[in-house]
Symmetry: none
Subunit: 196 residues, 4 copies
DNA sequence: CTCTAAGCGAGACGGTACGTCCGGTCTTCTA
DNA sequence: TAGAAGACCGGACGTACCGTCTCGCTTAGAG
């Protein structure tokens, strides 16, 4: 054991103010027009206080989005015995969540932050995608143990299809394009893996 | 009568130099560190010459990516009569295309350009996603006419699952995360829509 | 003959605005609290426009002071035949000039700019001191030709004493210290070089 | 009774380290690029320890220069009975002192510190100029009492000429300009005040 | 021999300014 | 006209210091 913490400790009030300001601005002006200077101003914080913590705008945004989202627990689908209905219900719930402009603005921001950065991309997929993957997998595993799924069903591929479609929906939410339908997708997927 | 274009016509050599430089830089430094000034310098062109053609960096990038990709015709899956095999084959081919670092860098750039911009998002989805949608739909329609698909199968949802998974694969290509498997996905989807 | 000037030429309206703003601020807030940013703001000019022309705050200030002073011709002392009276008159006139708070603020600023910089120091001594040296020397030379000065009189030393005392007076103008008396000095100097 | 200082007393080792670091840095990087943070780092001292003692960089520099110079006693010119020779000798000695790059760097620093500050200007003139003034005046007074000077000679003006010339020499030491000659000056001044 | 009041190195804090980069726009000259 | 060149205003970048403010830790005199 070596040197105790020396000097004034970092203020976690500043942490909160920064992440909050970043999330607010991301929602209101979008990723491109978001600036570290703007975050500092809104948070009532010096720029250096931001740069002491994160190396770039992308990193701040990534953390801000994950922090904002960390309150939302990703619940696994219920288990009523009816896989199709359970997934439909789950899709409905998270489809509404994704449709919230604030949520989709934040996720689009996170994607922008991840597009150029290995580190942020990893954070994104570890912290946002993995909980969803785990949640759905737990429900599918229950089903598999009852023997109601095909033996060789590729559950990872199934989950990726769900995640990919959700991502696609969020990214295309700026366009007039018809939004991918999570309900219809679930129907196909369930039929595709159900034991015959 | 003087309605014909007067003065020096635009140089399409300049066009090509600009789009080529943009594509090169996008691949080599990524979207964030790409600048209009950098494109102009590499293309040996004045900034004004770029701004005469496109309103923003995002628009240049979008056009550059689409131009680079326009050589690649999105062929519909072959029709051997075996839908599963045909989609597997198609997935294999485009899976390899997406795995090319240059292609994925460009698509990630386009996503970055689209994240904040309704216009670029629309361009992206019209020019990249729609041809794929059309290609797959044409094969599925053939199949449907033979009556080998369920009556109520939601073909749009199926295609969105494919597009979403492809997008997810590209965006996660920076991470060490296991890549979504297009082959396994196709299996599930075919089973999910095939008439029983 | 090679390439004519290409591109948009520098705006000499900007030049004037910058130098004017610098002179104003130097007078009103002093050298230490003068900032390039402040000059830019007051001149209605972008910072880059200043940095295109001068490498540092010290260089801008040096140029501004010299420009402001360039209107003031340093006249040689009159030649009435009475060297003592002529130098007294000259000292009175320039003593009043130095006593002007604006003038002394500018000269103090120039000294501050010159203290660390060989380049600015040289500018200062070439453009401010040399004209004074030349002016006085021309009067002394007339006198020497009449044979009214000692043969071996060190006229350079005499002039340096005048310049040094003027400088000392300006730099000590912030203090309550009694101001060096140019009139008394002239008396001594004239007596010190007059043929006996 | 509780008027004695309580708590840990100030460390005069810190004092010495600070003033030494300031003097070193002033010599090596000049006044402009000198920073309190740099002094603290070089002295191995916390910034607060500096600010507890002095209110500003200029004040530290002023004290550092005066401390460094305090070892050098300003001796009055010797009295051999020959005023001219005595002043020449004195000028020679202090001319060499001023020619030392370390000394002139420090004095230039002090001038920079004094340019904007009434307080530091006063310190400068009280602590550097006054001892010189006193030293020379004492010699001149001896001479005056012997009746070898003119009755109405303005001794203050004479001394200001010496101080001004010395200052001018230091400030112009960065340039290639010929240095004012203290020896020649002394000749003129002596001739200018000597009883005829 | 504890209590309390400094002082100390360390380092974070809100700020201001730095010098640079780039975004779009605007001349100027040349083709 | 278009195009290369490059200056213009503006805004943000990431860094350096400013002077202040905790931290935990001495180091003293007072009780």
């Amino acid at each position: 054991m070596t040197d105790a913490r020396r000097g004034r400790p970092r203020s976690d009030q500043a942490d909160r103010a920064i992440l909050g300001a970043a999330a607010d601005l991301l929602t209101s002006v979008g990723y491109e027009r978001l600036s570290v200077e703007g975050i500092a101003a809104r948070a009532g914080v010096a720029k250096q206080t931001i740069y002491r913590r994160w190396p770039s705008k992308a990193a701040v945004v990534a953390e801000a989005v994950l922090a904002a989202q960390s309150g939302v627990a990703i619940a696994p689908p219920a288990d009523t015995g009816d896989l199709r209905a359970d997934l439909q219900e789950w899709a409905l719930q998270y489809g509404l969540w994704l449709a919230d402009p604030v949520v989709s603005a934040m996720i689009r921001g996170l994607v922008a932050a991840a597009v150029d950065s290995q580190t942020n991309a990893t954070r994104l997929y570890d912290h946002l995608a993995d909980p969803i993957r785990t949640a759905i997998l737990s429900r599918l595993t229950q089903e598999a143990e009852r023997g109601t799924l095909r033996k060789n069903a590729d559950l990872d591929a199934l989950i990726d299809a769900i995640l990919g479609t959700m991502l696609y929906r969020v990214l295309s939410s700026l366009t007039d394009a018809p939004k991918p339908d999570l309900g219809g997708l679930m129907n196909i997927l369930v039929d595709g893996v159900r034991a015959q």
